[in-house]
C-alpha cells in the first residue's frame, strides 16, 4: 500500500533498508547466537546519521517525528528484531527529556543522542513493579543540591551499554505514584552500577540489564520536570513510544512473511510448489492483509501524534496491541509454511517468531494496553 511518504521519508526508508540488508542481515544469526552488543552496527547508524531521526533539528537532529522513527524501526526489524533496538531503546530513553526536560537538559543531552555518540535507556520497571508501574520502590532523597538514589531497576534495554539513563524513582514514598519523579543519571556516576545481563528468548543482541543504585548522588539539575510528575512523564513517554514497538512488530512480521512467500514458491511437494496449494495461499493472503492493516494503523497514529494531537493514549495502545498480536500470528504461520525447515535455525523464521513475542510484553503488556483502550473509550461516552 502506498502511504504517500514524503521525499525525505523515502530517503530515510531507503537508507535504512540498505543498511539492514547489507550490514545487519549477514550478522543477525551471529548476534542471536552470541548475544553480544552490536557495536559495529551502532557505528554504521552513527556514520549514516540514523540516530538523528530521534531528535528535532533544534537539538542537533533531523526530525524527532514519530513517523520517521517508525519507518526506521520497521525497516531494521524486517531484517532483525533485536539489533535495531540499540537505536529504538535510545529513542525511548530520551523521550522523557524531549517531552518534559528543561531547555538546558535538552541542549546538553539531545545532541549527543542525535549523533549516536551516546546511547540512552529508559528505566521504570522493577522486580515488584511491572504492569503496576506505580509500585516502584527505588527512592531519591534530597540532600542539599543533590538527590540520593537507592534501589534496583530490572530488564532495562540498553542497560550497561548506554551512557544516559532516565530513571523513575519515588521522591515522596507517602504519595505512591504521585510521589514519583524522573532523573537523568549518567553512566559512571558514583553509586550507579549494573547487575546481570539477561539471557533472553528473543531480541538477543539487545542488552537487557539490571541497574543498581547504591547511595548514588545525582545533582538536582538532573531532575526532569518537577518532583511528583514522574509517573505522568513515564506515561506520556510510553504513549509516544508505543508506535515504535508496533512498527517493530510490523517489521518482524513483514520479514517473516517475505521469507514464507519466497519459500512457498521454491519448495515442491506432490509435484508442485507448495504455493499452489490453496491452504498455503490463504495463509499468505491473511498474513499480507493483517500486516497491511497493522501498518496502516501505525502510520495513521504516527501522523496523528506528529500533527500535534493532544490525546493519543488510546490510538497508541491500539496500534501496539494490534501490531504485536498480528506479528505473533504471522511469525507462527511463517514457521508453519516452512514446515520442519522453519523450525531449524538454518532458516531465519524461528528467530523472527522468538523476536515477535516481546512486542506483546514490553512497554506495557497487551492486557494493559487493552485496559488503556477500554478506560479511554469508556470516558468518551
Amino acid at each position: 500500500m502506498d502511504y504517500f511518504l514524503t521525499e525525505e521519508e523515502l530517503e530515510i526508508k531507503e537508507l535504512t533498508r540498505k543498511i539492514a540488508e547489507e550490514k545487519i542481515k549477514p550478522v543477525r544469526a551471529k548476534y542471536d547466537e552470541e548475544d553480544s552488543f552490536p557495536w559495529e552496527i551502532v557505528e554504521v547508524f552513527r556514520q549514516t546519521d540514523l540516530f538523528a531521526v530521534l531528535v528535532p533539528e533544534k537539538y542537533g537532529g533531523i526530525s524527532g517525528k514519530v513517523i520517521d522513527v517508525v519507518i526506521v524501526t520497521e525497516e531494521l526489524s524486517r531484517v532483525c528484531g533485536g539489533i535495531g533496538l540499540s537505536l529504538g531503546g535510545s529513542g525511548l530513553g530520551i523521550y522523557p527529556v524531549l517531552i518534559s526536560g528543561s531547555e538546558e537538559q535538552k541542549h546538553k543531552y539531545l545532541p549527543q543522542i542525535a549523533t549516536g555518540e551516546k546511547l540512552a535507556a529508559f528505566a521504570l520497571t522493577e522486580a515488584n513493579a511491572g504492569s503496576d508501574a506505580g509500585g516502584i520502590e527505588t527512592t531519591a532523597t534530597k540532600d542539599g543540591d543533590h538527590y540520593i538514589l537507592n534501589g534496583t531497576k530490572q530488564w532495562i534495554t540498553n542497560g550497561g551499554e548506554a551512557e544516559i539513563y532516565t530513571v523513575f524513582v519515588l521522591t515522596d514514598k507517602s504519595k505512591g505514584a504521585r510521589g514519583a519523579s524522573c532523573f537523568i543519571v549518567e553512566k559512571g556516576t558514583e553509586g550507579f552500577s549494573f547487575g546481570k545481563k539477561e539471557d533472553k528468548m528473543g531480541i538477543r543482541g539487545s542488552a537487557t540489564r539490571e541497574l543498581v543504585f547504591d547511595n548514588c548522588r545525582v545533582p538536582k539539575e538532573n531532575l526532569v520536570g518537577r518532583e511528583g510528575f514522574g509517573f505522568m512523564i513515564a506515561m506520556k513517554t510510553l504513549d509516544k513510544s508505543r508506535p515504535m514497538v508496533a512498527s517493530q512488530a510490523v517489521g518482524i512480521a513483514q520479514g517473516a512473511y517475505e521469507e514464507a512467500v519466497k519459500y512457498s514458491k521454491e519448495r515442491h511437494q506432490f509435484g508442485k510448489p507448495i504455493s499452489a496449494f490453496q491452504a498455503v495461499q490463504f495463509m499468505l493472503a491473511d498474513m499480507a492483509t493483517q500486516i497491511e492493516a497493522a501498518r496502516a494503523l501505525v502510520m495513521a497514529t504516527a501522523r496523528m501524534i506528529d500533527a500535534g494531537a493532544k490525546r493519543y493514549a488510546k490510538e497508541s495502545a491500539m496500534c501496539k496491541v494490534f501490531a504485536s498480536d498480528m506479528a505473533m500470528k504471522v511469525t507462527i504461520d511463517a514457521v508453519q509454511i516452512l514446515g520442519g525447515y522453519g523450525y531449524m535455525k538454518e532458516y531465519p523464521v524461528e528467530k523472527m517468531m522468538r523476536d515477535a513475542k516481546i512486542t506483546q510484553i514490553y512497554e506495557g503488556t497487551n492486557q494493559i494496553q487493552r485496559s488503556i483502550i477500554a478506560s479511554n473509550l469508556l470516558k468518551e461516552f
Binding site: 521525499e7 530517503e11 530515510i12 540498505k18 556514520q47 549514516t48 538523528a52 533531523i62
Partner: protein, 257 residues
C-alpha cells in the same frame, strides 16, 4: 587532484525476475528498482579516498534519463563536488562507443588528473566505456584495477587478472582507471549529507550544449531473448554405485578428466 567519476544508473536485477519487453530489444523495467551501478560505487569511493588524501574536486558525470539525478545526488552526498547529467533523452540508444564519444565531448571541457569508472555495468555488461573513453582522450588507462596508490604526478595500480594473478603498473597522470568491486568499502550517504545534496544543483547538458564529433554507430541491438530450455539432461538411474560407475564412464568418455 581533480577527479572525474563516470557513473550509470542501472536496474537492480540480482534478485528480481527479468523479462523481455514488447520491443524484444530491452527488458521490462517498470517493476525494477534502480541504483548506481555496483562497480561505480567503488570508483566513487576511491575518488573520495583520493580527495581526502590530496584535496581537489570530484565531478560525477552520467549519460542518463532525468531519474539519474537521484543517483547523482547520492554521489554528491557521498562526497562529490559537482554533478553533470548529459540528457540521454537527446540521443537514440547510444552503444558503448557512442556513449564514450559523448562522455569525451563533455570531459574535454573539464580539468582532471584522474578519471575513474566502474569496470563493468551490470545491465549491458559491455565493459567498454572506460577503455574506449581513455583511447578517445588519448590518455593512458588501466582496467580491472584493485588497488590505487597515487601521488600528484603518477599512480601505481594493481590489476587483477584471471587466476588471481596481479599485475603492477606505474602510470603517468592524467589517466583513466576502471575499478573493480572490492577495492574498498563504499560508504553510505548519510542522512544529513543527503539533505544537503538535495539542495545542490545538477548541471544538465543537452545535445545543444555539447560540442559533438560525428557519432559513429558500430552496433545495434537486434534481439534480446531468453535461451530456450533444451533437453540435454541425462538422468542416471540405479543404485548409488551403479550411477557412480555410469557417471565416471561418461566423464572419461567425454575426455573431461
Amino acid at each position: 587532484m581533480d577527479i572525474i567519476v563516470c557513473i550509470k544508473r542501472v536496474p537492480q536485477t540480482a534478485e528480481a525476475e527479468v523479462s523481455i519487453d514488447s520491443t524484444g530489444k530491452s527488458i521490462q523495467k517498470d517493476r525494477l528498482t534502480f541504483d548506481m551501478n555496483e562497480s561505480d560505487t567503488y570508483a566513487l569511493e576511491e575518488a573520495v579516498l583520493l580527495k581526502e588524501k590530496f584535496e581537489g574536486n570530484i565531478t560525477v558525470l552520467s549519460l542518463g534519463y532525468p531519474d539519474t539525478d537521484d543517483t547523482l545526488r547520492i554521489a554528491l552526498a557521498k562526497g562529490a563536488d559537482n554533478a553533470i547529467r548529459i540528457k540521454a533523452e537527446n540521443f537514440e540508444n547510444p552503444d558503448a562507443f557512442q556513449t564514450a564519444q559523448i562522455l569525451k565531448s563533455v570531459i574535454k571541457t573539464i580539468n582532471f588528473d584522474i578519471i575513474l569508472t566502474g569496470c563493468i555495468a551490470t545491465d549491458d555488461a559491455y565493459s567498454q566505456i572506460g577503455v574506449t573513453l581513455a583511447e578517445l582522450l588519448e590518455i593512458p588507462h588501466a582496467a580491472l584495477v584493485i588497488k590505487v596508490d597515487a601521488n600528484e604526478q603518477r599512480t601505481h595500480v594493481h590489476r587483477e587478472l584471471e587466476e588471481g594473478l596481479i599485475e603492477h603498473l606505474d602510470i603517468k597522470l592524467p589517466a583513466l582507471l576502471t575499478i573493480l568491486t572490492g577495492i574498498n568499502e563504499p560508504r553510505y550517504a548519510s542522512l544529513i549529507a543527503i539533505r544537503r545534496a538535495a539542495k545542490k544543483e545538477i548541471q544538465q547538458l543537452g545535445k545543444e550544449n555539447i560540442e559533438l564529433e560525428d557519432l559513429v554507430i558500430n552496433s545495434v541491438i537486434e534481439e534480446l531473448y531468453v535461451p530456450p530450455v533444451t533437453k540435454q539432461v541425462e538422468i542416471l538411474t540405479g543404485s548409488p554405485s551403479e550411477t557412480a560407475t555410469k557417471l565416471a564412464g561418461i566423464v572419461k568418455e567425454k575426455g573431461l578428466i
